[in-house]
């Protein structure tokens, strides 16, 4: 095993000791660079009440490059596609090594509160979000109920 950088150990310790409200991130038993993440749907969003699973992986050159994050739970959102890939600038060209796992997850939670259909990853979802927002929100609520409320 490649030696685990202090940075990752430190971030992991802090995530455990001072968890972010509404977010749980637990490192895998066998791979300290792989995190099982659960994000709760934000209040007053169509995702309220849902528990969304994500996977987060810290690549070899983290923190010089961004974590890889993906939704595992299906979600109806204009910036998240059917494979769970997330369209978020700080995960791509706006990454900074001063950002952390916790700031990334907070940004993802914020993206759930504020979908951005003008810069979509899931085109069909974004299209509906623009032409008929209330129906899109109904779909998002329905998907949340169907896929993210499994106890």
């Amino acid at each position: 095993m490649a030696a685990l950088p202090r940075r990752i150990i430190k971030e992991t310790q802090r995530l455990m000791q001072e968890p972010v409200p509404g977010i749980s991130a637990v490192p895998s038993e066998t791979n300290a660079r792989y995190f099982h993440v659960i994000v709760t749907g934000p209040e007053d969003s169509p995702f309220e009440g849902g528990l969304f699973k994500l996977e987060l992986f810290l690549p070899e050159d983290y923190p010089m490059s961004a974590p890889k994050v993906r939704f595992i739970t299906k979600i109806y959102h204009p910036n998240i596609d059917r494979l769970g890939r997330i369209c978020l600038d700080i995960l791509k060209d706006k990454w900074s090594p001063a950002l952390q796992i916790r700031t990334v997850l907070l940004s993802i939670q914020a993206l759930l509160s504020a979908p951005n259909p003008d810069d979509p990853l899931a085109n069909d979802v974004a299209e509906l979000w623009k032409v008929n927002e209330s129906e899109a929100i109904r779909n998002a609520k329905e998907w949340t109920r169907r896929y993210a409320m499994d106890n």
């Binding site: 095993m1 950088p5 940075r7 660079r33 070899e60």
Partner: protein
């Protein structure tokens, strides 16, 4: 806060609507049926699903382009599996038709699971009931090895995908009995192997690990203790079982009174081995550091401890599994990218990068019969695919500037790529980054054993050569292959110094960025920065403060 930045529509091929035809549906399993739940109705003609799966399997064998779009068959299977009934169909079809003897069969199952929507726990429990998983099924007389092997592969995939509370719910007593029965009664090794791997995947969730461990220790003879005796078997399937059992006993299901393998293995004659500090996350390395195996779904790589930069060197590799491995040479400049990665268009590239996938490395894959360099494959159609027991010979001659691969002493190819790169880019790979290391990458469920000269070579080359094991030198500490969990525990106790770099926490912070004046970074991190991590201002100058 971040906002959306990339645009790429998901490429979902249309699937023809299915009109049920009056064909008989082959039953998915044989044997006991009493507790079995009825299969849900079909959404697609089962023959189409079968065809798509076999098409995909054939494609994986020639799936060589890392940048390729998802294969159409995989996209269609995804669409089918989006409906719950469709998911059952895809899974039961794989269980039924993935051939036992295809070296890429289990990998194909993992690829489909990786791409298809995640099932709910209810869906999985229903599947296990439909298949009637139980000790009785595992012990039935008329067992179908192919079907049971595939079921165990599927269980492993599910456990891997549903880590956490769902994995606990899915591991019902019956399903656990089913897997354990294969271990206890040591039936067909091909099933035992994948039952063991599935248990290992379930054990990623702590509660399951404790349950399984308790069950194993309750037996008079812990079945793993019997299975680990096969670790040096000449039967290559049993040997894999032995390797996995030993690994599980060292890493997951420890037994009181059993010393960990690294504490008892004799390392006195070994002076070169796989470097446990230079390996991607999931590769399993034997306690003597010479045998390696991958059971994760990513492409895993490792370099050995000893680099060479002049003269002629040779090592051999015993092929234990016939699937995709890329064995050869790498410098420190080759990166192991073992996880999903995302290209500039935001597309996930599933295949990992390994040895031979950059210009700093060269490898031979005897399954697909390809020489790899710079992520470009060169087919070698005139040789046969490798089989368990084959010996791959890897020679590098830095005077003649060539690398030669052989299989069982038969010449495969003489390659000059690595030396051409040096000439073209006006850098000497031999001298830069320490030199060349023996190195290999592994697809899921692949295993091989390296011989750096601790045993005599089976097919020594007919030119004078040097032997790693005679020139290498390692401290006792460096020779120790300590189970990962122990290393992790030690690392967790790490503390951070007061004035440590705020990016890596390793070195002292000593740099101030100009003109923005942000500070708190060490020189190593600063050297990698393009802009200030705090304010994104351009860095025009770096001022070093003395501490």
């Amino acid at each position: 806060m971040g906002s959306c930045c990339s645009k790429e529509p998901p490429n979902t091929g249309p699937v023809e609507p299915y009109v049920p035809s009056p064909v008989a549906v082959p039953s998915t399993t044989r044997g006991i049926t009493e507790t079995r739940v009825a299969a849900p109705k079909l959404v697609v003609d089962p023959r189409i699903v079968d065809e798509l799966i076999l098409e995909l399997l054939a494609l994986i064998a020639s799936f060589v382009d890392n940048e390729e779009e998802s294969p159409v068959s995989l996209v269609k299977l995804h669409v089918i599996a989006e409906k719950e009934e469709g998911w059952f169909q895809v899974v039961t079809s794989m269980v039924r038709i993935i051939p036992l003897d295809n070296p890429l069969g289990p990998s194909a199952i993992t690829i489909v699971f990786d791409d298809c929507p995640l099932p709910s726990k209810e869906q999985v429990i229903k599947l296990t009931q439909m298949l009637g998983l139980s000790a009785m099924r595992a012990l039935a007389a008329d067992i179908d090895v192919q079907v049971e092997r595939n079921i165990c592969v599927v269980l492993g995939c599910i456990a891997d995908k549903l880590a956490g509370p769902n994995s606990v719910a899915v591991l019902t007593e019956e399903t656990l009995d089913y897997m354990l029965s294969f271990l206890m009664f040591r039936r067909e090794p091909r099933i035992v192997l994948f039952a063991l791997i599935a248990l290992e995947k379930f054990a990623h969730t702590t509660e399951n690990k404790l349950t399984i461990k308790e069950r194993l220790n309750k037996e008079d003879d812990n079945p793993l203790l019997l299975l680990e005796r096969h670790a040096n078997s000449q039967d290559y399937t049993w040997r894999q079982v032995g390797f996995c059992a030993k690994w599980a006993l060292d890493n997951l299901f420890t037994v009181e009174g059993r010393c960990l393998s690294y504490q008892t293995v004799d390392m006195s004659k070994i002076n070169a081995l796989m470097n446990t500090q230079d390996v991607s996350e999931y590769l399993k390395i034997s306690c003597d550091g010479l045998e390696a195996r991958c059971d994760s779904y990513s492409f895993e790589s490792v370099r050995c401890t000893f680099p060479v930069n002049s003269g002629v060197w040779y090592y051999e590799c015993l092929i234990i599994t016939p699937g995709v491995m890329q064995i050869g040479w790498a410098t420190k400049s080759s990166h192991f990218l073992n996880h999903i990665c995302i290209n500039q268009k935001g597309k996930i590239i599933k295949e990992g990068y390994g040895i031979g996938d950059d210009i700093y490395s060269l490898s031979y894959d005897g399954c697909r019969r390809l020489i790899w360099h710079g992520a470009k494959p060169t087919p070698v159609p005139d040789v046969e695919g490798w089989r368990p027991g084959d010996i791959v010979g890897c020679l590098i001659d830095m005077d003649a500037e060539e690398a030669i691969f052989t299989v069982n002493g038969v010449h495969v190819r003489t390659c000059t790529h690595l030396f051409e790169v040096s000439r073209r880019n006006n850098v000497d790979l031999k001298q830069s980054s320490q030199g060349f290391f023996a190195a290999a990458s592994f697809m899921a469920f692949q295993q091989c054993r390296f011989n750096f000269g601790v045993e005599s070579f089976r097919y020594p080359p007919n030119r004078p050569f040097k032997i790693f094991n005679e020139h290498g030198s390692l401290t006792d500490e460096q020779k120790r292959v300590v189970p990962r969990r122990i290393t992790l525990e030690l690392l967790r106790e790490t503390t951070v110094k007061e004035n440590a770099c705020t990016l890596c926490f390793d070195a002292d912070s000593c740099c101030v960025l100009e003109p923005c004046q942000h500070r708190g970074f060490c020189s190593l991190c600063t050297a990698q920065l393009k802009e200030c991590p705090m304010c994104r201002a351009a860095i025009l100058q770096i001022r070093v403060e003395s501490t």
